[in-house]
């Protein structure tokens, strides 16, 4: 009891400068076990501390509070505390013990899920992610947790805001896998299939020494998104994919590969029959929504093919070619595609004719010029980054040692000071 009071006074006292913080850190580490023992009383103590000035201490106490399994009632009281803490805490103090911060946030997620209201955790988690990151290119362990909450709460747009960032620094490979997988699912939910394909592609082709379940599930979704977006799918993975993935992924995703082959024949009846027979498989993988989208995309692809060969076509002919049941259905499909911007056409209801138009984009507007200009700037920045990284690696002693060891020695004059291990 006394030690707890003393601890609190020390927290309040030593939270002002960097030197104090480090001393406080040492003290807190030593008192960790005693804190855990008093976990029941700690929630009362929290009121005495201010999360913005005493972030480190607050964090330790929070972590001790939540270390024991929490019941629903306790969760209802704790969640607001944690949320408030996250929004007020100071990144410099948090940065001293990132692991504790991460575990507190993960427990927030668990509690929010326990209470059945994932949406309460979305905003706090977003703030937490931003505070934990060194830079906008840093992928933390909290990113996938955040995306998971977005998925469960169906707040796809918030999730997208995180996904717009480019990632180049990764803490743990597992984080990346989960991040890309959940990110892919969010993009699919928002119908941003190009970005979803990119994220899922990253999971599937990431370096891995053994096959993992995330990659398998991602591959299944990758096949289907590829069919929806490109209308085709090739089973050969690029050269930079790990050999494990190249060999084994196909074995786990057989029904989906057969779906892709059936899709490529272009026969709608066959595709639907196949989907029907394998319905349980798709449902057990939670992929039935995507499968439905795959089936509807085949109609779209056939209609798009028609725009390449015809200038005008009657709705009846469209219905016949694309194997729809009636001109009314064809009209609905075409209308939907015009609204989504997938084709350019006008429907003449009097004659029952559709007139296909060229893409009206002339590439002459100011917006287009700005778009091209910004793309060029972006490419140049990327190039520069690539060159910098290349230079960094060439100066890295580990790399030089390895390269030096394997170098040919031609004559005695070929002497330089590369270390030989």
């Amino acid at each position: 009891m006394g030690s707890l009071e003393a601890l609190i006074i020390q927290i309040q006292g030593l939270s002002s400068s960097a030197g104090d913080i480090s001393r406080l850190h040492v003290i807190l580490k030593q008192s960790e076990d005693s804190l855990r023992a008093e976990s029941t009383r700690l929630s009362a103590v929290l009121n005495e501390l201010d999360p913005s000035t005493h972030s480190l201490g607050y964090l330790y106490i929070l972590e001790a509070c939540t270390s024991a399994p929490i019941s629903k009632e306790q969760a209802t009281t704790l969640v607001p505390y944690i949320a408030r803490f996250i929004s007020y805490c100071v990144p410099e103090q948090i940065g001293v013990v990132p692991d504790k911060f991460i575990s507190v946030c993960k427990r927030l997620k668990d509690q929010v899920l326990l209470l059945g209201t994932p949406i309460r955790g979305v905003a706090p988690m977003l703030t937490a992610v931003r505070k934990l990151q060194h830079s906008s290119e840093h992928l933390t362990t909290l990113h996938p947790e955040f995306l998971l909450l977005c998925l469960l709460a169906k707040c796809y747009k918030t999730g997208l805001s995180i996904l717009e960032d480019d990632i180049s620094e990764v803490d743990q490979p597992r984080d990346l896998f989960l991040y890309c997988y959940y990110g892919g699912m969010i993009c699919v939910g928002q119908k941003r299939f190009r970005k979803a394909l990119e994220l899922l592609h990253n999971v599937v082709t990431a370096p891995m020494s053994t096959i993992n379940a995330i990659a398998v599930e991602a591959y299944k979704k990758y096949i289907m998104v590829s069919l929806i977006h490109h209308g085709q799918f090739s089973t050969s993975l690029p050269k930079y994919t790990s050999s494990v993935a190249q060999r084994l992924l196909k074995n786990y995703c057989q029904p989906y590969i057969e779906l892709a082959t059936s899709y490529s024949t272009g026969k709608i009846a066959e595709l639907e029959a196949y989907v029907q027979t394998n319905r349980e498989q798709f449902e057990s993988d939670n992929n039935s929504g995507l499968v439905k989208q795959v089936v509807s995309s085949i109609y779209k692809r056939n209609i798009q093919r028609l725009t390449q060969t015809y200038l005008t076509l009657s709705l009846q002919d469209i219905a016949n070619t694309v194997q729809l049941n009636s001109p009314k259905e064809a009209e609905m499909h075409v209308l939907q595609m015009i609204q989504d911007g997938e084709i350019f056409a006008t429907i003449n209801q009097k004659d029952g004719m559709v007139r296909f138009l060229e893409d009206p984009e002339q590439y002459k507007t100011c917006e287009m010029i700005e778009h091209i200009d910004s793309s060029i700037q972006r490419m140049m920045a990327l190039s520069r980054k690539l060159t910098t990284i290349d230079e960094q690696i060439s100066c890295d002693p580990l790399y030089l040692a390895k390269a030096g060891r394997e170098r040919q020695r031609f004559d005695f004059d070929d002497f330089d000071t590369v270390p030989q291990k």
Partner: protein
């Protein structure tokens, strides 16, 4: 011969008159030529050939002319007579089985003849064997070569084609002059064509053509025809056409143990039509004096090539239709008739639409003697295949030529390349980061 079409006829009329052949052009009389729309005259056809190929062709006709028992029996009868002149008892037995006694006792199984031939064969074989052994012990190159040659001839006459080929090839080690080599190559080519092994044909043709002495024109022609046949079999129609077109008129009927000059014209003409473009067609076929001599023998093919070049597609396709039934009975061409015809038809369609900005589909359907719906389907396939750059206005039934806007296409491509570069580099950096992480992990574990 047909009078030449008057060159001063206005072009518009030409295009319009594509559909009605009989109105503006003089009617074409039907000539009693072998490959006409009428039924194939088996006897006349067979008289063009001799030797093994005659029998093979007759048997092929007999096997493939369903629904025409008269022609079948005729072919079998001629085959029977021809076989009796030779010494191939195996084929004899097959033919007798096919005849099945339908032509009376004259054309039944003649076991006495078979036995006599077989016995004679045995004796001859022994004699040849002894002679060859004697020559081999004497080590006289020329006689050994003759010995193997005789063996080859013997096997060929008895239908043992594999052994014949081996014997001919064995003479190679004992050939001293280039004449010998050429003789060996020609025999090997003959047997290979009979066996249907065309890769051998190509290799022996090139071997013969590399000989140091100049080849006499007849042999050169023969080699080119053989090469043409090999390319035809391999579905390389352009190369086959080129080879056939180079065969000189001196060939005559010198190679009718393999191919008749009518065949050279037909094969060459059709493959040229299916694979050459307009300039090559004009230069190599229509203006080719040598080839004209061949085309004279099959005026229908000549007419159809001329019609195609002058855009009279209806009559061209008519001729093709007439020839089809008989071409399907040809031993070398029957596999390729369908694909050659499809290629010719597609070329006609493409050529028709090429010079126009817009084409009325009704007139085009008339010119090609097909329905508008069918024509639309064919054009759709060609457009999807990117062989015609156009779009169909299905409402008004017009085909509009469409030229891709290069400027827009370039912009689109540039933006797409940019985004692909962006995506690829970013994922590359990500992967590099992961690998570095793993490497650091392993390094830190080692330390």
């Amino acid at each position: 011969m047909e009078p030449e079409e008057s060159p001063s006829r206005p072009l518009i009329d030409d295009i319009h008159s594509n559909g009605d052949v009989g109105v503006d052009e003089p009617s074409r009389s039907k000539r009693p030529i072998i490959s006409s729309g009428e039924q194939l005259d088996v006897e006349a056809y067979a008289s063009l050939y001799q030797g093994c190929t005659k029998i093979m062709r007759l048997l092929f006709i007999a096997d493939h002319c369903e629904g025409n028992p008269g022609m079948r029996l005729e072919a079998l009868r001629m085959a029977y007579d021809e076989i009796k002149k030779g010494e191939n008892t195996q084929i004899f037995r097959e033919v007798v089985q096919k005849i099945d006694g339908k032509m009376g006792p004259d054309y039944g199984m003649d076991s006495a003849w078979c036995e006599m031939v077989d016995r004679r064969a045995e004796q001859k074989k022994e004699k040849l064997d002894n002679e060859l052994n004697a020559y081999r012990t004497n080590l006289i190159k020329e006689s050994i070569r003759m010995g193997y040659n005789d063996f080859g001839d013997f096997y060929y006459a008895h239908g043992a084609l594999g052994d014949a080929f081996k014997s001919y090839v064995r003479t190679r080690d004992y050939c001293t002059t280039s004449k010998h080599i050429i003789h060996m190559c020609m025999s090997a080519i003959l047997v290979s064509i009979e066996m249907g092994q065309f890769p051998h044909v190509t290799s022996y043709v090139s071997k013969a053509e590399q000989s140091s002495e100049a080849l006499d024109p007849i042999t050169a022609s023969k080699l080119r025809c053989a090469a043409g046949l090999a390319h035809l079999e391999a579905k390389k129609y352009k190369l086959a056409a080129r080879k056939f077109l180079e065969a000189g008129p001196e060939l005559g009927s010198h190679y009718n143990e393999v191919i008749a000059p009518q065949d050279v014209a037909t094969y060459g003409g059709l493959s040229a039509l299916a694979s050459f473009d307009r300039t090559e067609l004009k230069h190599k076929v229509i203006d080719n004096d040598n080839f004209r001599n061949f085309l004279e023998l099959v005026p229908e093919v000549r007419e159809l090539i001329n019609d195609f070049y002058s855009s009279h597609y209806a009559s061209c396709l008519d001729y093709l239709g007439n020839l089809k039934a008989n071409l399907l009975l040809d031993i070398h061409l029957h596999d390729h008739v369908e694909s050659l015809y499809d290629q010719i038809r597609n070329k006609a369609l493409i050529q028709y639409t090429h010079p126009f900005v817009s084409v009325d589909l009704r007139m085009m359907a008339n010119a090609f003697k097909t329905s508008i719906a069918g024509l639309e389907k064919e054009l759709e396939a060609l457009i999807t295949d990117n062989q015609i750059q156009a779009r169909i206005d299905s409402h008004n039934k017009i085909l509009y030529a469409r030229h891709a806007d290069q400027r827009n296409a370039t912009f689109q491509r540039v933006l797409q390349t940019g985004s692909e570069f962006d995506r690829d580099v970013r994922s590359m950096l990500l992967r590099a980061n992961l690998i570095k992480h793993e490497y650091n992990l392993r390094a830190s574990r080692k330390l």
